[in-house]
Amino acid sequence: MAINKETLKYVAGLARIELQPKELEKLSGQLQDILEFIDKLKEIDTASINPTSHILPINNVLREDKSADSLSADQALENAPRREDNFFGVPKVIE
């Protein structure tokens, strides 16, 4: 499976990561190698096998619908790079 630079740029965009040209170059080669290695999995016939998305046989873990203590706004904002009142300040979202 080929991962050309265009695909790589697209995927980096999905991952919200800005890559420098040198990084793109390097990563393209490395990911190419890794994907070739991963292609080994094609050797196996997986048609009739169920996927294991979770190793434990537990499902739908729920809790009582009771409110309990949670972080205060101050605690939640303690590490904020930018705080405005009780909000995390961020650059504007362009429509």
Binding site: I38, H54, Q75, V90, K92
Partner: protein, 489 residues
């Protein structure tokens, strides 16, 4: 004064006994540790942000000598949340982060009288790595040979314990990150059964693979720690409501009749001959002590690394989406004249804040989950995961445990593998399957190479079979002297 310096060389259980007999106080232990760290850590670099901290010289919370751990200090990997103490996953993107809460394991340790060491141990950034070379703060050096890696990603914790810069430590293991550094540093490391120990407060890498576990000087300390950190936690929906046995009771010096499976796939080319010899000698030792062994097959072993690097990176890409400069850590400066928008901030923050390996894994993970590739990669990997788990289920029907080398080699040199990601990934071959299958796995020292580097023996058991691991490892340990050896620093 010289008596105090030696205290850091003891195990926790030995120190607890001394405290009980009122021979020493826990402040004496802390003083000894601090002294040792001052002496040795400039060479080993097991700890991060040391010089920033004046906490090293201050008293930790007054220990309650009635509690089981009597104030013994424990060192914590930088990805486990400790309220008020910096927790940064050794990444630039989390710089300055002080968690507003304790991880469940930290809370449990405090409740049992442990003193949480305020300075964290070094790790590969976000646990992405097998050498601790991917840390934002630079690598940790193996105490047995400073030019070698300590292993990773819990390299700091392993090195600290090996160098007696820590009495006890916690690490995390997603593909071998406790066991492989334990093997490289000559200490004990355990990855519990998935769901045995709460992940609440562990900054997530791969949610279906991660577990927190102990790194200790001997098996008894490991069992003691497991008693404390294990157990169901309502804050972790993947923790399992299975009773925690008294793991100390599993320390029975007897392996008569225990059936050990030796998987042939772990003894092929690629395994260093010295490591092979030491592991085979260890297995023979266990046979002398009364165990039986037989060759078995884990047929899908060769697919474990590709399966892991699809599933783990996919889960990582999801878990690391939260690091975007909004709520905590690093935020990139807006360097454009025109005002940039939110998405630009995300891209720049993540581009500058993540290291190379982190970016590589996130992008790979995003790719294997993306439209058009999901079935071919991610879904396929999940199916092969089923086959890998099934291999283990079949073996455990007949055998009590499985024994393998922990790693194909002893510690490699710093810089040796870092330029070739694939080469680095392949060094995880023996540890990875345990995470994929969710089974418990332990590494215990089993000797040294001719160059004086430690080698680890890996023992695997069925889910919630930690008692079997402890029994076999304890028996082996008590009939050898590896655990008494210390590096010359």
């Amino acid at each position: 004064m010289s008596g105090e310096i030696e205290l850091n060389k003891f195990t926790a259980h030995e120190l607890i006994e001394k405290v009980d007999k009122k021979e020493i106080t826990t402040q004496d232990i802390l003083n000894a540790l601090n002294q040792r760290i001052k002496e040795a850590d400039s060479k080993v670099k097991a700890y991060v942000r040391l010089s920033d901290s004046n906490l090293l010289d201050s008293k930790l919370q007054t220990p309650n000598s009635k509690l089981p751990l009597k104030g013994i200090p424990i060192s914590i990997k930088d990805n486990i949340c400790t309220q008020g103490y910096n927790t940064e996953c050794c990444s630039k993107i989390l710089e300055g982060f002080k968690p507003p809460y304790d991880a469940t394991v930290i809370r449990k340790l405090k409740e049992n009288g442990a003193a949480i060491f305020p300075v964290k141990t070094n790790m590969d950034e976000f646990a992405f790595g097998s050498s601790t070379e991917n840390s934002y703060f630079g690598p940790t050096h193996n105490p047995w040979n400073l030019e070698c890696v300590p292993g990773g990603s819990s390299g700091g914790s392993a090195a600290a314990v090996a160098a007696d810069e820590a009495i006890l430590a916690l690490g995390s293991d997603t593909g071998g990150s406790i066991r492989q550094p334990a093997s490289f540093c000559g200490v004990v490391g355990l990855k519990p059964t998935y769901g045995r120990v709460s992940r609440y407060g562990l900054i997530a890498f791969a949610s279906s693979l991660d577990q927190i576990g102990p790194l200790t000087k001997d098996i008894r300390d490991c069992a003691m720690l497991m008693n404390i950190i294990s157990g169901f936690d309502p804050c972790d929906s993947t923790s399992v409501n299975v009773e925690v046995p008294d793991y100390i009771k599993a320390l029975v010096n007897d392996v008569k009749g225990i059936k050990i499976g030796i998987p042939k796939e772990y003894f092929t080319e690629g395994l260093d001959p010295e490591v092979k010899r030491l592991v085979e000698e260890a297995i023979d030792k266990l046979k002398d002590l009364g165990a039986d062994y037989k060759q078995v097959s884990l047929a899908h072993t060769e697919y474990a690394v590709p399966v892991y690097y699809i599933i783990a990176t996919a889960e990582a890409s999801s878990n690391l989406a939260r690091f975007d400069g909004v709520q905590y850590g690093f935020r990139a400066r807006n360097s454009r004249k025109d005002s940039s928008n939110l998405i630009d901030m995300y891209k720049k923050t993540r581009g500058e804040g993540f290291g190379e390996e982190a970016k590589r894994r996130i992008i790979l993970g995003t790719f294997v989950l993306s439209h058009g590739y999901y079935d071919a990669y991610y879904l396929r990997a999940l199916k092969v995961r089923t086959l890998i788990k099934h291999d283990f289920d079949e073996v455990f029907k007949e055998f009590d445990c499985i024994i393998t080398p922990t790693s194909p080699t002893a510690a490699f040199r710093i810089g040796e593998k870092i330029k070739d990601p694939l080469k680095m990934y392949l060094s995880d071959i023996y540890t990875i399957s345990a995470n994929l299958a969710g089974i418990p796995a332990l590494s215990v020292p089993c000797g040294f190479t001719k160059k004086g580097l430690p080698v680890g023996l890996q023992i695997l058991a069925k889910p919630f079979g930690e008692e079997m691991l402890f029994r076999v490892a304890y028996n082996y340990e008590q009939n050898t002297d590896w655990h008494k050896m210390k590096p010359k620093l």
